[in-house]
Amino acid sequence: MRRAVIAFTAFLGGLVFLLSSPAWADGEALKGTLQNQGQPVNGVKISVAGEDGNPVGDATTGADGKWEVPVPKAGKYKVTLDQSTLPKDVGLKFQNRATLDVQVYEGSERNVLFALAPAGKQGEGAAQTSDSSSFWDRVAQLTFEGFNLGLIIALAAMGLSLVFGTTGLTNFAHGELLTFGAMCAYFFNVVIGLPLIVAAVISVVIGGAFGYSQDRFFWGVLRRRGSSLVAMMIISIGLALFLRYVFLFFFGGEGASFADYNAQPGIQVGPISAAPKNFIAMGIELAVLIVVGLALLKTRVGKAARAVADNPALAASSGINVDGVIRIIWTVGGAVASLAGVMLGLSQNVSYQMGFQILLLVFAGVTLGGLGTAFGALVGSIVVGLFIQLSTVVVPTELKTVGALLVLILVMLFRPQGILGRRERIG
């Protein structure tokens, strides 16, 4: 009998474990790859301590320059590189950055980058630290990171907002389009072994096809059956759950990164230091947003899309093929969301929950800009991205999302139509 009780307790425990999202229950770690001019540096001791100074663990880099220290939970950690264990001809690029304060997020492995340089070539640039300049440096750095995040959110928000504008669907499964894109790119990049850029292009194409077929075989069919909007919103939640667990099934609960551009050494542009991939990613994001924006303003299809978003019945009566326009929006939305997923995977990690985790920020951006407007979504998303990163000047990094979500609620209170929205949309 007692065994039955134990078995039942264990079973309940197992259920709870499953419910509490498997990915969060394990896997927080700090890791990195030490490289000097592209060559791995081995035998370097790296130790990790908690915020209170208690040691958590240490590691020594292997022949491939890799090291990893698992940490008990999300939080702030101090990572120290023992400079005496560095090879003679190698030194830290910035002498004052032997100890780094890093934030580990729930369920994710955090890459820590120590910039190395041949001895004697270390930069003195970061050596001087006067308080006022470091504050503004930090603001500049955060503004840059905010733009980076904001542009990713904007890419995702564009599709979400246009789909809402044309069909009225609040699509909770939009985040899974991002995850889908990132997973496709991961498959072609890591499993098949193609370069990431090729993999990203393939994933954008597949993402567009996925968006198209979602509308062709699912949402379009439901619209024709006359499913109501609230029903479709809950169906989208079901679809999101289904897809998320399909991703978990095939991908596993651990986060992973792409094979290319992993531990890029940062470059310094003015006060901002970032890996070159971030600059290029932002360039691509901006270019895509501008192209989509121009297409909306200048092309026939774009004008038709805005007309449908404004008033589907009137658009139909003036000869616009509403269903065709909606299908194009789904296709482009899916492709752009795929791109956003790849970019998100590049700047964070690929995991089965990445889309859902950013979905609320996308909603925040879309509502802030005004539901249903394409350019409002763009403006709102960038504001949200900037706000999230800049808020870390005053709030702890782990709570930066909280600030953005609070703003979402405050917008509802004072200006429910958003920045660029119009009053009549809120009903």
Binding site: S20, P22, K76, V230, G238, L248, I426
Partner: protein, 329 residues
Amino acid sequence: MDWNTIFVTTVKASIGLETVVYALAAIGINIQFGYAGLLNFGQAAFLGVAAYGMAVTVATFHLPFWLGILIGLAATIVLAFLLGIPTLRLRADYLAIVTIAAAEIVRLVFRSVKFSSVFGGSDGRQNFSGDFFAMNPYSPGTYGIGPISFNERVTWVLTVGWVLIAITCGLVYLLMKSPWGRVLKAIREDEDAVRSLGKNVFSYKMQALVLGGVVGCLGGFLFALGQASVQPDLFSTEFTFYAYTIVILGGAARVFSPVVGAALFWVLLVFVGNTLSEAVSAGLLPSLFTVNNIGAVRFMLVGLGLMLLLIFRPQGIFGDKREIALDAR
């Protein structure tokens, strides 16, 4: 295949702690969504603030258990007002987005390192259920029929839980037969018509939101007490989605459907989960399925089930199609 274990755990799941907790959460959602047509996607937050309100009062501040219950209730009501005031005048999908955002805010604050001295970070809080189990009238031993039995602690939690379910179901039955309930259903059908009759729609919606939250928070108390601990990730948004699946499975706007829905949901989930994992360990499934990823399959089925239900049978098992609040407003 150990059919005996599968059978026993499945039967136990039909009345177990999860069923009780989800049933209470679903009864709350049924009041909000089924009767009043409010899309509250933050039910997990209501359970969360209640559970943490109680746990923190007792475990962090060492105050009495009943004061903890009162603080948990108060926190739930405050949360309902905070969510309701900005959003109840807006359209249904705005309420949905705001409540889901609020639920994430609550969870992130609970698990933050910054406030870990109060909420305990991602480990949560323990050591608060002593007073509750001190009230346990059952003497140590197991209670039940044959292998389907629970120890005295679980029996006590389940007894309290099912009594609470019975009381809330009775309350919902009486309320929905009363003029108050009829106004609520009328608001779901046509808000403007009710307003033209001189009713304060906003106030009625707020009452429904508070009442649904309070019923749900009972589930939060039981969740915390039944496990003798609270963790932030128990109250993730997926909790709310499962509770919605339960309401829709049973049929919205019916008194007993959340209870039947919860029992059926957990029976299916446990049965499918156990059968699949037994089949994997017996080597009956293709090698694509492993012990590690088999858990995901049953939640895929939850998503699939939610979609299929809404497409083909939105009224669920017991519901009436004309009574489902699926029109956007």
